[in-house]
Structure formats: C-alpha cells, structure tokens
C-alpha cells in the first residue's frame, strides 16, 4: 500500500482533533467552543474519507474503464455526518443567540454546579 498520500491525512486528522479538543477544553467563549467542535468534526470526516481511500482509485462511478475506485460507503457516511454536523451547528448558533440575550455575553462562567 502506498502510504505517501494516506499518512499525511492521518496526521491531519490527529491535528484537527487535537486542535478542536484543545479549543473545547481551554476556551471560555461559547462560540469558540462550538467552532472547536466543528473542527473536530471535520477531523472525523477526514478520517472517514481517508479510510475509504484506495490508492490510485477513482470516484466510485460505474465505468468500464476503471476497475479500481475508492470505497463509496464512507463518502455516503461523511455526507450524512456533514448534514448532521451542520444541523447541530445551526441549533448551537440559535441557542447561543438566546444565551447572549439572557446573559449579555458569550463568556461562559460556569453555573448550575453541584
């Protein structure tokens, strides 16, 4: 297997996940937290795509000229995942607006503890 193309992808996945996680854990601003979550999501989507990748494969469209094509299922999965991620983000934004209306700030100071 040719790892030349795949390995950087895995590194990118790891980097995206770590960046996202760092953002979630360290940021106080809720908007930044949700942006970080989106970054993580992108990382996972990339992971799925990478898994389905077949070296030198083409798009999974039926064509007699090509016998080698990438795995179509992960791509379908990623499409679904992107849609879900989008809906979550949309909902999050809506909620942040209402959070801002209530608190006057997006800074998250913790609450409802113990």
């Amino acid at each position: 297997m040719n790892y030349a193309l795949v390995t950087p992808c895995y590194i990118a996945v790891a980097a995206l996940l770590s960046i996202g996680l760092y953002g979630v854990v360290s940021k106080r601003n809720l908007m930044k937290i949700f942006i970080s979550l989106s970054i993580m999501e992108t990382g996972v989507n990339l992971l799925l795509i990478t898994i389905g990748y077949v070296p030198e494969g083409t798009a999974p469209i039926e064509n007699a000229n090509f016998t080698k094509y990438v795995d179509p299922l992960p791509q379908a999965l990623v499409l679904t995942a992107i849609v879900i991620g989008l809906s979550v983000t949309a909902l999050a934004i809506a909620m942040l607006i209402s959070y801002y209306e209530k608190k006057g700030s997006l800074e998250y100071k913790g609450g409802m503890k113990w």
Binding site: V24, L37, D71, L73, P74, I84, V88, S98, M112
Partner: protein
C-alpha cells in the same frame, strides 16, 4: 400477521415533517402518530412474545450491505416502553406547547425507537444524532437561563460524543468494511487487537455520554434541572434507556469479551455509587432526581455487565430495572412540577415511585434487585454487592428526605398531568404483579 418494525420509526418521522405544514393540527398529528406507534409497538411486542425475533430489511437490501432492523424480546419491550410512555407523557404535556414542540418530541421518540431497533451501527449513530438534536432543542424549549445552560452543556458533550461514536465506527469500518453489527460480530476476531479495543472505547465513551454513565454525565444534572418536567420525564424514559440498551447491544453482540464486561461492571458500580452519593445532599428536587437517575443507570449497566455468565438472570434484572426506573422516574419528574405532593394521586405516585426505585415488592424494582443479586452472587462479586447495598441505603436516605420534604397539601397539577403520572407509575405495579417475570425467564431474550 407480518410486522414491520420500520413503521415505528417512519411514522413519527413522517408526522414530524408534516407538522410544520399543518401547524394548527400539530398536537393532533403528533398524538395520532404516537397513538399509532404505541399500538403498533404493543402489537409487535405481543408478536415477538409469541413468535420470537424479527429481522427487517429496509428497501429489500440484504445484509450485510443493506440497512436492517433486528428486534428481539428485549428491544421490542424497550420500543414498547418508549412509545407507550411517550404517548402518555405527550398527552399530559403536549397541549401546553406549540407545534414545534410536538415536532421535536416526535423526532426524539423516533430516534430513541430507532436506536433500540436498528441492527446497523451507522444507523445507530444517526438515530443518536436525531434524538440528541431534538433533545437539545426540547431542553432549551423552556427558554429560561437554566434551560439554555443545560441544553448547551448537553450539546457540547453530545457533540463530542457523536464525534467519538463516528470515530469508533470509522475504525471498525477501516478493518472490516462493514457496518452491520452481526457481520461485525462474526468477524470481530479478525480485527487488529489495538484497533478493536480503541473502537470499543470510543463507542463506549460516545454512547456513554447519552447513557449518563460516570464520568461522562456532566450534562445530566444541568439538563434535567433546566428542562421542564415533561421533558425531563421524556429524557428519563427515552434517550437514556435507548442509549444504555445500545451499550448493552454493542457490548454483548460485537464485543462479548471478558475485558469489556469487566469495564462495564466497574463503570456501572462507580456510576451507581457516585450518582447516589451526589444525590444524597441535593436540595433541588429535579437535580436530585437527575443524580438518582445516574445511579440507576449505573445499576442497569451492572445488570447488563453480569450477562457474561448469568445471561438469563442478568437480563431479567435489567428488564425490570429499566421498567422500574422508567416508570417511576418519569412519573417523579412529572410530579416534580408541583412543589408538594398534595392530594391522593400525587402522594401515592410519589410513594410508589420511590418504593419501586428502592426495590420494594410487589413493584418491578424488587424483581430487578432480586435477579441482580442472583446474578451477582453467582459470580461472587462481594465488593460489587456491598457497594450496591451501600448505594441502596444512601438512596433510601435521600428518597426518605425527599418524601418528607415534599409532603404537603399544595398541588398545582392539572388532571391530565395527574392521570399521566398515575398511569406511568402503575406500570411498575402491574409488571411486578403480572407473571411477566416468569414468562420473561423462559423467553430467548437475546436471540441471535
């Protein structure tokens, strides 16, 4: 009769899409869909009760490629439970909200039912997301500060969870190129050892967030406290039960290894003890009930994790614990709307609920604890037994305090609320008394 479990998912989904088009009739459409679902779930359960398990291929694609539903006795029971309680709960609370609520409610129910019924791991993920997104919105629907804060907490953790689930699925897929859980189960031994464990850990963590297990349950107290009592009730019988069942299914079907059962056992025990202890000094009723739910989820997880050796006793225990917890806790959440337990209906609902959770006969909780003990003693898990006892005593302590504190004559609940509460809580009595325990013991609960 041929049963199509897919209708249980499809009908509420379709109804949910219709509702925005017919806003005026939102409540009626939702109620109708749920009534249908309830009836269909009852039919399906009785069919499985007499005929055994069902597989349903969606759109005729054959597994392992096609998406399919697999329904056994336990999942049929859970589907029945969720849809039944959803209907009752909806009738009690639905009219107080506008059509959006009905829609979201339907989505949450469809998602929960889907989690229970599906036999495909990616589908499970999708249903998780449907349930979760609907739940976020439902929690935030109360629109006060606490509700939104609870929803945001749930949302952040839920998003992380979904990322982990997806990663777990990706890892499995990368090795086996399949998403069907039975297909995975059949070929699990060919998986790379480390990736196998990593994927299990990711799935456990991801689903564990929804299943309220410690320490993934940071959102639970806030969300339950913030949500309106009807939504809290929904959360306690719907998504959380579906999620714990999903954990059990993944653990028992895909990863039936000693190590996984062991981890589930430890996690369950820690969840139980921490949840009950955290509830002990809690003054806010809903938050206390939320912590108590955490503890109960731990107990259910313990029951499932004992299934490696004593499958019959452990599954019956889980069955009864789920029933007891769902019926008691959701009625207690409904009750938590009233500041005190005024009137006979409220008073006895509270008492029966508490007694069932504590495990008094002839309520369902008693059978749960009895069979759990049978299973645990068989494996001589002394420390686990001691901790379960300790947690039970702590539980008795705060529930007694709760009963004392909420004693009073005030009752702000309307009739629909009361009826819903009483009906819900009567299930724990009914299932304790009817010979289901015996019958369940002779069923192939887990037939593959």
């Amino acid at each position: 009769m041929v049963v199509h479990p897919v209708l249980l998912i499809a009908i509420p989904l379709i109804a949910a899409f219709i509702i925005p088009l017919a806003k005026k009739y939102g409540f009626a459409i939702a109620a109708g869909a749920m009534a249908f679902n309830m009836g269909y779930a009852i039919g399906m359960f009785s069919y499985i009760y007499s005929h055994g398990k069902i597989y349903e291929m969606i759109a005729g694609f054959k597994p392992p490629v096609g998406i399919f539903l697999a329904v056994d006795a336990l999942s049929a029971m859970l589907a029945l439970l969720i849809n039944l309680f959803a209907f009752i709960n909806f009738i009690a609370i639905g009219k107080e909200w506008n059509y959006k609520f009905s829609m979201l409610y339907l989505l949450a129910i469809a998602g929960s039912t889907g989690i229970v019924l599906t036999g495909d791991i990616f589908n499970m993920f999708i249903f998780f997301e449907i349930t979760a997104v609907a739940s976020y919105a439902l929690i935030a629907g109360k629109k006060d500060e606490k509700a939104i804060e609870g929803a945001i907490k749930y949302m952040v953790l839920g998003s992380i969870a979904s990322i982990f689930i997806l990663m777990g699925i990706a890892l499995i897929y990368s090795q086996l190129k399949t998403l069907n859980i039975y297909d995975i189960a059949a070929r699990i031994s060919s998986m790379d050892e480390k990736i196998k464990w990593a994927s299990f850990a990711l799935l456990l963590t991801g689903i564990g967030v929804e299943a309220e297990i410690f320490p993934l349950n940071g959102w639970v107290p806030a969300a339950y406290q913030g949500a309106s009592s009807g939504v809290a009730s929904l959360l306690s019988f719907g998504p959380s039960k579906a999620a714990i069942y999903a954990i059990a299914r993944i653990m028992m079907v895909i990863f039936p290894f000693h190590a996984t059962y062991e981890i589930a056992l430890y996690v369950g025990v820690v969840t139980l003890v921490i949840g009950e202890l955290a509830a002990f000094m809690q003054e806010d009723v809903k938050r206390m009930l939320a912590y108590s739910s955490i503890g109960q989820m731990g107990l259910i997880l313990i029951a499932f994790s004992l299934a490696s050796q004593n499958i019959q006793n452990a599954l019956i225990a889980a069955f009864f614990l789920i029933i007891s917890h769902a019926s008691a806790k959701s009625s207690l959440f409904l009750l938590s709307r009233s500041p005190s337990m005024g009137g006979a209906a409220c008073k006895y609902t509270g008492i029966v609920g508490v007694l069932s959770i504590i495990g008094m006969p002839p309520l369902a909780g008693f059978w749960g604890k009895w069979y759990l003990m049978l299973a645990a003693i068989n494996e001589k898990l002394w420390l686990v037994i001691m901790l379960v006892f300790f947690a039970g005593i702590v539980e008795a302590g705060y529930f007694a305090r709760y009963l004392h504190k909420s004693m009073g004559n005030e009752s702000k609940l309307n009739l629909r609320y009361k009826v819903a509460m009483v009906v819900m809580v009567s299930f724990t009595i009914l299932l304790g008394l009817l010979p289901i325990a015996y019958k369940m013991a002779s069923l192939p609960l887990w037939g593959w």
